[in-house]
Structure formats: C-alpha cells, structure tokens
Amino acid sequence: MAREVSPKDQQPPVPEDTEAVAQQKKSQEEWREEFPYPWDEDEIITRRDTLRFLLAGSGALFLATGALAIIGNLPKGENVQAVPIAKVGELAENDWRVFDFPDQYAQGILINLPGKGLVAYSDVCTHLSCAVVYQGNGKLHCPCHEGLFDAATGNVLAGPPIRPLPLIQLAIHNGTIYAVKEVPR
C-alpha cells in the first residue's frame, strides 16, 4: 500500500536516538571484548563435530557388524544330545505332542503324520516366535498372525512367515524316540 511521505518522515532520526543506539552498540562491543568468542568458527566447529561424531558412529557400526559376523561364524560343537520325548507307538496317527528340546527354555513339536510317520520341528514360528500348533490336517498353524506350515516338510504355506520351521532330527533306540539335533533352515 502506498503511503504519502511527508517531509517530517524524511528527516534523520533525532540525536537522542542516535546516541542511544551508539551507546547500545558500544555496550555490546564491550561485552564481546570481555567475552571474546569466535562465532563464525563456532559454526564450523559444530558441523565438524557432527561430522566426527557421524564418522565415529560409522566405525562403531562397522565394528559391531563385524563382531556379529565373527560370533555367527564361531566354530560350534555338534550340539548333539539325545532327549527322550516319547515311546514308539505312543502317538496315534495325526496325534502330536510338544516336548522340551534342547532344554526347558525351548520346545519342539512331534507329529505322527499319516503315510509319513514321525516328524519333529521347533514349535517357534519363524515370523515372531509364537508357538505353532498342529491342526490335524497336515498343517501347522501359528495363531498369532495366521501363519501356516506344511507338517510334512516344515515349509511355509501361508501367512507372514518367510522361512521354514527348523527341523529336529529324531532317533529311535530301544523303543524310545529321542530328539537328537535341531537343524535351522
């Protein structure tokens, strides 16, 4: 919006204002003299500090990833142990049982499949570690997110899981069924 400029507006500021501004500027300069601080360099230091921090983080992440790779590739023992889980003939066809393997903190599921016989898998769903149950129709069901696995192979049939269930190898000795070894897949 245009405004008509009067001659009074064009006059320079009154001397009192000029003195006040000068006084304020002088006080600021005195303050800066008493506490000298390189403001421009401060901006650079901040960015460089950020860069160093990011660089250190990058190195730390590389070391952590390398440590995970080393841990994952450490030579492992055979981890073979025979845990008795059932008697031969104890499970009827399509019957199933949950057992502790290799210790009480992990479970497997033993199924007597028609036409295939005894199979065993880890009952931990490969999606988000819920326990799967046998449905009786040749499928293992994870109730958490509706995952379905083939009971004959352990492969994924439906749902969010993308990896098959770990297989548990079985052995039969003197009429007893033993869980021997878990094979991650």
Binding site: D40, R47, S58, L61, F62, L68, A69, G72, P184
Partner: protein, 107 residues
C-alpha cells in the same frame, strides 16, 4: 501483454535477476562457485560431508539390523557379506570426511 515486452526480456527468466557472471577461475580451472574459497564455501563443503556421512550411517544401521536378525534366526551365511557392506560404508565415510582437506582462505 504486449509481445514487444516479451521480446525485450526473453533472455532472462526474471528481469530482476542480477546479471549472470562466470565463476572465478582458480589455478586448475573454474571454481565451483563465487564463495568457494571463502568461509561460506568451506561451510557448504562440510555441510555436504555431514549429509553424505549421515546417509552412509543410516545404511549401516539397516545393515546391522539385518545382521542381528540373521544371527538370531540361526542363519549365519550372509553375516560376512553384511560385515563387508558395512566396511565399504565406513571406508566411504572416511573418504568423504578426509578427502577435502582444503584450508580456509579468507577472501
């Protein structure tokens, strides 16, 4: 609008823009910009370094997340590859951080 006005300013996207100048010439040719040798140029370079290294760091975070998932899933075959990718990221971050070592020349 008069067509004569259009022909008058047809070489300028905006008539209020300052005239275009060539960038300053350095010892090895044209410099990237008028402020390249000064404080503002150096600041822009460091800012760019920060952005690039931050992107590398984000990728490394994704890599270590996947590595942890693979390890806890019992699949260790891809862990060495993931560590190699993370190493490449770290090497790239080192390169980006230490390559432009130009000192600030006050203009």
């Amino acid at each position: 609008m008069n067509s004569n006005d259009n022909t008058q300013y047809r070489h300028k996207a905006n008539p209020d823009d300052p005239p275009v100048k060539l960038p300053p010439r350095g010892p090895k040719g044209f410099l990237p910009g008028p402020n390249y040798l000064g404080l503002r140029g150096r600041t822009a370079i460091v800012q760019g370094q920060v952005y690039i290294v931050a992107v590398v760091l984000i990728v490394q975070l994704l890599v270590i997340t996947d590595a942890l998932y693979e390890l806890l899933s019992g699949r260790t075959g891809s862990l060495l590859w993931l560590a190699f990718v993370s190493l490449i990221g770290f090497a790239l971050a080192l390169l980006v951080a230490f390559w432009p070592r130009r000192r600030i020349e006050e203009s």
